[in-house]
Amino acid sequence: MPDTHFYRYDEYDRRLVGERVEQFRDQVRRRLAGELTEEQFKPLRLTNGLYLQLHAYMLRIAIPYGTLSSRQLRKLAEISRKYDRGYGHFTTRQNLQLHWIKLEQAPDAIAALAEVDMHSIQTSGNCVRNTTADHFAGAAVDEIEDPRVWCEIVRQWSTLHPEFSFLPRKFKIAITGSPNDRAAVRVHDIGLRLWRNDQGEVGFEVIVGGGLGRTPMIGKTLREFLPKDELLAYLEATLRVYNRYGRRDNLFKARIKILVHEIGAEKMCEEVEAEYESMKDSALRLAPETIEAIAGQFAPPPLQPGRTRVPEVEALKLEDRNFALWLKSNVAPHRVPGHAIVTASLKPAGAPPGDASAAQMEGVADIADAYSQSEIRVSHEQNLVLPHVAIEDLPAVYRALDRLGFAEANVGKITDIIACPGLDYCALANARSIPVAQRISRHFAALSRQHDIGDLKIKISGCINACGHHHVGHIGILGVDKNGIELYQISLGGDVDFGRTALGTILGPAVPAEKIVDAVDALVATYLEARSAGERFVDTYRRLGVQPFKDRVYAAV
């Protein structure tokens, strides 16, 4: 088996994760023996990724920085078969959720994860969650530095942090190393953006207090430029300010965004900088050897520059229109000439977004072994990515993905919908998300029409907690419950692109489930008639404002 091109656990990481499994096994035993009440057990299981949902326990597995080896993906397939119903759900935070877990078996499932150096530590609970990254990291053309190096450094620092395991609320960090932000850093508790200053040094812009949920906010820049080796000191300072002053009286006002909003970004900055002053130059400063050792493990695979125009690819493009469309939407440029980044769409027409069966996971693992350096990425848009594919292999990869049902040429298009699990699974939800996504997906299934409509992001949440990121969808759909009836509120113009991050504007009164497809159809029709050359849906919306869209929708529903 080829070596991986990302961080490999050493004996320390492996020991800690193993010891954590044993600790959890003991906690489950004590719970089953009645030594722990459910109230006492709840935070313990949550910080091991175990939720109690509508029908069963759900296990949320961390996929740090969205990077998986084929071996790890095969193990996830095996676990989903053995301990669940043979499928899993990839989430918007680079996690995999298994929705039908039995409490008695949870420790064994977690022990099986540890066999491939994976865990579910801190995928829930009021602690620092899985740190997410650009899913094209290490392959993207526009990348300044690989953000995953820093995600791994943060992963270690945040794992079982003695001071920050009982925060006021959950805490999400995202890191990007590219000017084109694919990690949505402005809508995280802390977003970190690597950039190069005029002196040629690379450091972090530190953005604090962004988030979606019931009070969506765009994060504020606390630090324009932080030297990289001081990252942990600055994070520790920020978390300490939050741990001490974040609100704990109201669950809905406990995120750091509320603290930043209430005391103001300037005061927040003062507090953090004062704390940081006494922390920098401490043991938290990263030694150059430490950074180098971790960065070395993310060294790119040795790809040979190859042909960018391959006759077989050109021929198939003419012969197979779907392949031609797939090249346009699902294949992105790679930094090594002759290579490409392929997105496997987990959104075939009418399927629940982000779901994959065990057989499909194994199929993707096989393709990665044959054509992508045995590496797979999970995107926050709930797709899988093959990051290192030679252009000459694209026809074979396309055919192999097609056999799995993952070659839909719809990445970034209207049917590449983000949706939370919604009322079908989740105890918090007010309305179903997946069936709505499925209906829209079926209605717009024709690929040529999707490509004509162009880039359009639909994001659906089944409740105000916004796991489906509806605030930042070009079209956002939020399920609400009115007297037992599921209604859907539509918003327009949300965006997570860097420099254009915006929250959507609510269109008008919520519409019933059976009208949602008509409403989206009306929005699309308005755009198609009004667009000027090269304008995306969201650009036309920005130019025209909400009114023409609103008039058309409420005439239609």
Binding site: D10, Y12, D13, R15, L16, E19, R20, Q23, Q27, E35, Q40, P43, L44, N126, Q156, W157, T159, L160, H161, P162, E163, F164, S165, F166, L167, R240, N243, R244, R248, S278, S282, A283, L284, L286, A287, E289, T290, A293
Partner: protein
């Protein structure tokens, strides 16, 4: 409430005077023992900190983690060396964190607490974060390992 210290699985006798709430202690700033609420500012104990023999930090609910920050500030920034006691809703599953933050005595009526305390320092043989407990972090051990390998090669 049973009191525990490392080294004994059974509860120990409380040999400390009853701590004064901060507001009372601040009146004349004498007395060797203070009980802080988790919203109190630990800096208020300066400059008499060195004369204190007991500070009690409070967990109104075990899920309220403010006292961890207070503990680290007392131990690491202000250099407090007396007894640091966790009181309130203190459960055995918090112990690895409490010990790393500098607590050294614990009030708890949870069954099995003393036995859990005896195991708490070794439950995790690896730590990632530097704190005043002096345990070398994984990162420090790796660095040391690499430097040893390098000097052996020279």
């Amino acid at each position: 409430m049973p009191l525990f210290r490392e080294g004994s699985a059974a509860p120990v006798a409380n040999d400390q005077p009853a701590p004064l709430p901060l507001a009372d202690w601040l009146k004349d700033r004498v007395g060797p023992a203070v009980a802080l609420a988790n919203t109190d500012d630990v800096n208020e104990l300066q400059p008499e900190l060195a004369s204190l023999t007991l500070i009690t930090l409070h967990f109104p609910r075990f899920s309220d983690g403010r006292a961890y920050s207070q503990a680290r500030l007392l131990r690491e920034r202000l250099g407090y060396r007396g007894e640091l006691r966790a009181a309130g809703d203190v459960l055995q599953d918090q112990l690895p964190f409490l010990l790393r933050c500098g607590f050294d005595s614990f009030e708890s009526d949870q069954k099995g607490f003393g036995e859990a305390l005896a195991r708490a320092r070794t439950l995790f043989s690896v730590v990632y974060q530097p704190t005043k407990d002096g345990r070398p972090t994984a990162s420090q051990l790796r660095l040391f390992g690499r430097r040893v390998t390098l000097s052996a090669a020279e």
